[in-house]
């Protein structure tokens, strides 16, 4: 948890800047988490360089966050994070990409990591963020006929009554 005197990610950042040019990403740091903010258009490029040139060959985590009415928030409504891991140096890097209403759409990371398959489907299921290039983007956790996106902040915790909409079986009928 201690902050190293020299930045272990300096080499990665210079490789990225060298290959993609300046201004593609901005960084922020909290504790030992180093975050890389990129725009949706350059996402796949950045991920590809990180995977193939910088040794981040392991996609450790992929998830989404809805920042609707987050205090002091000015940037986009949704953000998706990719936690990458370098298995040799145990470096971790978090790539964050913002996407906004309406019709939030991101390019899919499926061609890079097959492990992204279900995690992207889950984000689609929970937030309605579409991933172009994903081979099989369907609902994964909620039933097919469900229409809302339950992890969005404007969806109530207890739902809108969907959980009560089933026929009752009484002992006489069964």
């Amino acid at each position: 948890m201690t902050q190293a005197a020299t930045d272990p990610h300096a080499a990665t950042f210079s490789t990225l800047a060298g290959l993609l040019g300046e201004g593609v990403f901005s960084t922020s740091t909290f504790k030992d988490n180093v975050r890389l903010h990129v725009s949706p258009g350059r996402l796949i490029e950045v991920l590809t360089v990180l995977k193939q040139r910088c040794g981040f060959e392991f996609l450790s985590e992929l998830g989404g966050v809805d920042y609707l009415e987050y205090p002091g928030r000015t940037r986009s409504r949704f953000e998706v994070h990719y936690v990458l891991l370098n298995l040799d140096t145990t470096e971790r890097l978090i790539v964050k990409v913002g996407v906004d209403d309406p019709n939030p759409t991101l390019p899919s990371a499926y061609p890079l990591w097959r492990g992204a398959d279900w995690m992207e489907r889950e984000i689609f299921d929970m937030y309605g963020i579409e991933f172009t290039g994903h081979p099989d983007l369907r609902r994964i956790l909620m039933p097919e006929e469900f229409t809302a996106f339950p992890l969005r902040k404007d969806y109530p915790l207890r739902g809108r009554g969907e959980r009560h909409n089933f026929p009752k079986l009484s002992r006489g009928e069964s």
Binding site: F30, N33, G63, H81, L87, G115, R139, P150, L157
Partner: protein
Amino acid sequence: MPANLLDEPEIGEESKKQYLWTLNFGPQHPATHTTLRLVLDLDGERIVRATPYIGYLHSGFEKLGEHLNFNQYVTIVDRKNYISPPMNEVAWHNAVEKLLGIELTRRCQYIRVIIGELSRISDHLLCAGAAALDLGAFTAFLFAFNQRELIYDVYEEMSGYRFHPGYTRVGGVMQDFNDRVIERVRAVLRSLPKAIADMEKLLFRNRIFLDRMRGVGVLSKADAINFSCTGPLARASGVTYDLRKDEPYLAYRDFDFSVPYATEGDCYARFQIRMEEIVQSMGIVKQAIENLPGGPVNVPIAEKFPMPDKGTIYNSMEGLIQHFELIMPNRGYETPKEEIYAAIEGPSGELGYYLVTDGTQIAWRTRTRPPSFIHFQVFPMMIKDHLISDIVAVLGSLNIIAAELDR
């Protein structure tokens, strides 16, 4: 073995459909352990394609995390991987404490290591026992479950609840270990080696068991990395990453243990890794319980976020104020408006939390990195060209926990 029909371009879709059988497997099936569903396309008894359908136990864990505070949410994370609840608690509070910048006391770190490793043992015991049960070896399951009962006794003594202890708190644990807990832990350590020897004797020379596990469900190292596999599943395929060694958290630097790995990547290798990890975890628990440091178990209440114990609440003004500030809904300390990813090595792989806070004591977002969810997506690839009966062996070796899978 005939060529895979679905890959033949000259055969039309319609005739493929006529030739293949479709079989629905689950969601209520004993070998799925809980609630998984597979739709299988079969060529005779050979599986041409398996399509998993999940979500039959989706209960909104992550949404609940946005409505409960850091201490309340422990009861929910317990139920995520319900065969090793304390490990979930350790993972959750590891993330919270990292975000709040709380450094635990030595005693608390050791206690968390002990409960974490005990839960790893119980997880692997159930996984190995149930895998054997599904393959027809009932007795090994009984041996494994007897040891789990002893571990339940530890939980019960330390927290009062045998299944979901809900034992950790921000900055500490619910109450300190007493002598009876330590005695119970020693009882587990005493009886476990014999049970493991019994299980190994029953299974490692059991011809049926070996034939059904060896060479079945092979996962290569490249695939394991590409599919984001971690834990015993990846280590059986040659990925030696273990967060306890590579990114040490709690007090794991203090202990002498090794990380077993194999390169075969089949069901049998995974089973062996689990059995070996039980032995290693036993060693860690033994070292931790013999060298348990003294001193306070919770961080001082000046750190603001820890819940004071009952004695402090009733007997000191600071404790009372602290309790009031933490419990009353309209009060509360300010947390950083930040987000963090923190992970630990869970029984079935990297168990991480992506935690976002908005300045209150209730998280804005509690994303879990669920190992079961990530591991289950490998299943269709592993089971391809196997027979129906191999499903049971492969599922048993993957250790899919439905509550963690669906959350």
